[in-house]
């Protein structure tokens, strides 16, 4: 075949065949581009089997994340002093003061019925000493039960730089949630405190973005924004990019693979 193409280049093949061959190769190139386009990284690629997501806590614009392999998507080159964090996958959303902050999960399969959700303030150095300037830290913990009533798994997500006007979920004990898309809800209506896995219609109000005030430590924060951190089962959503607008309870920020959550979301 290679020898035949050499003949083609040397001009020993009729002009009509040469044109047809060139056109065929152009069609193959176009078909390849079409294949990449139809299977390319649109937002829909964010969903995959058994993978759930913690959604953007607030509406705003992606401002920072830690560099990670293979290529840093947040800054190029990566800053010498990477973004500070105490839990994995730190992620910043530039959001104005008093923007509501919600905890919300997505892509739960319909055999996950619901569970418990708790939210606690965490007393770290920045929250304790710099809180009045740069805000406070809240950790939200969500546990999952299946439609047979068996415990499946849990994860936690941290929200930083919050005002001290928290949602009633914070330090309020343990609350119960249902997955509205489950084949059977976990709790009867009288025991349901929250609905998760229903994007913009649900979630738990954690608090509001702190109105940053100058005078605090620049090592803690230098402006109003929401900082999110996942847990060890988490991962970045690599389709996010610097400067991208994200919407609370809609945009996937962290992906999580939790053992026992394997089904497809409806």
């Amino acid at each position: 075949m290679i020898r035949h193409y050499r003949d083609l280049l040397e001009g020993s093949v009729p002009r009509r065949q040469r044109v047809l061959t060139a056109a065929a190769w152009l069609i193959l190139a176009a078909a390849t581009l079409f294949a990449f386009w139809i299977n390319g990284p649109t937002q829909s690629a964010e969903a995959s089997h058994g993978r759930i997501a913690m959604l953007a806590g607030s509406t705003g614009t992606v401002t920072a994340g830690r560099c990670y392999p293979p290529d840093p998507i947040w800054a190029n080159p990566c800053p010498a002093n990477p973004h500070g964090f105490t839990n994995p996958y730190p992620f910043d959303i530039g959001a104005p003061a008093w923007t509501p902050v919600y905890a919300q999960v997505d892509y739960l399969p319909n055999n996950i019925a619901g569970g418990f959700i708790t939210a606690s303030t965490v007393s770290t150095g920045c929250a304790a000493s710099d809180g009045p300037y740069s805000g406070y830290r809240v950790r939200v913990e969500i546990s999952y039960y299946n439609t047979s009533g068996a415990y499946v798994n849990w994860n936690h997500e941290s929200y930083l730089h919050l005002a001290s006007t928290y949602g009633s979920i914070v330090n309020g004990g343990t609350f119960r949630w249902n997955n509205p898309s489950a084949t059977v809800p976990l709790w009867p209506p009288a025991l349901e405190d929250y609905r998760l896995n229903n994007t913009t219609a649900g979630g738990a109000l954690v608090g509001y973005v702190h109105p940053w005030m100058s005078g605090g430590s620049t090592s803690c924060s230098d402006g109003a924004h929401l900082h999110m951190e996942a847990d060890s089962d988490g991962a970045y959503n690599t389709s996010r990019y610097l400067g991208e607008p994200v919407t609370q309870r809609f945009s996937d920020i962290h992906f999580i693979h939790l053992a026992g959550i394997n089904g497809l979301h409806p």
């Binding site: 065929a24 105490t86 060890s232």
Partner: protein
Amino acid sequence: MNRILTSLRNHALWAFPLTAALIVVATAVVLAGTTGHGQANVSSDDEFAADKEARALAEPDYSTTVFSSAADAHPREHSLFLDKDGFIEVTAYDDRHLTDEQKLEDPLVNPNWEPFAECVADHGLEVRADPANPYTQADLDRLIEIVNEEGPFEAATPQGLVYHGTLNSDAFLQCAEGYLR
């Protein structure tokens, strides 16, 4: 005979890439429809948004529920201080945007470490060579390491995560709940 072979050869020159193009398109269409994009079978931002909005409209069917009473399942204990493997974990106190070296040069002290240290010392959990020395993150980390040698302290059961403590983990968690929240 030669004319036929030459004709076949010339047709193969364009038939080969054309056949490959057909295969590529067919495979791409099949893949887009069945995998990956996967579970939701959505292939555009509009469909992605519609998929999200569909879940926002979902309403639970309460005709039957898994549990009928709050007593049917219990939340876990000590949620802030046990990690995903059931070992004790305390969020590092110094969460400033500094390198480890910078933090060592200018350490941040938790004022609650001293009362916490007194609390655990009352249970025989003193890790400092001299208790008169100020308590540090390193002391806390060392204590966690010692107590965790008896772990894990939490096990997954069908009813939920159940805490199985030892005298040391009980003491640590009691003091942590009191001073490190």
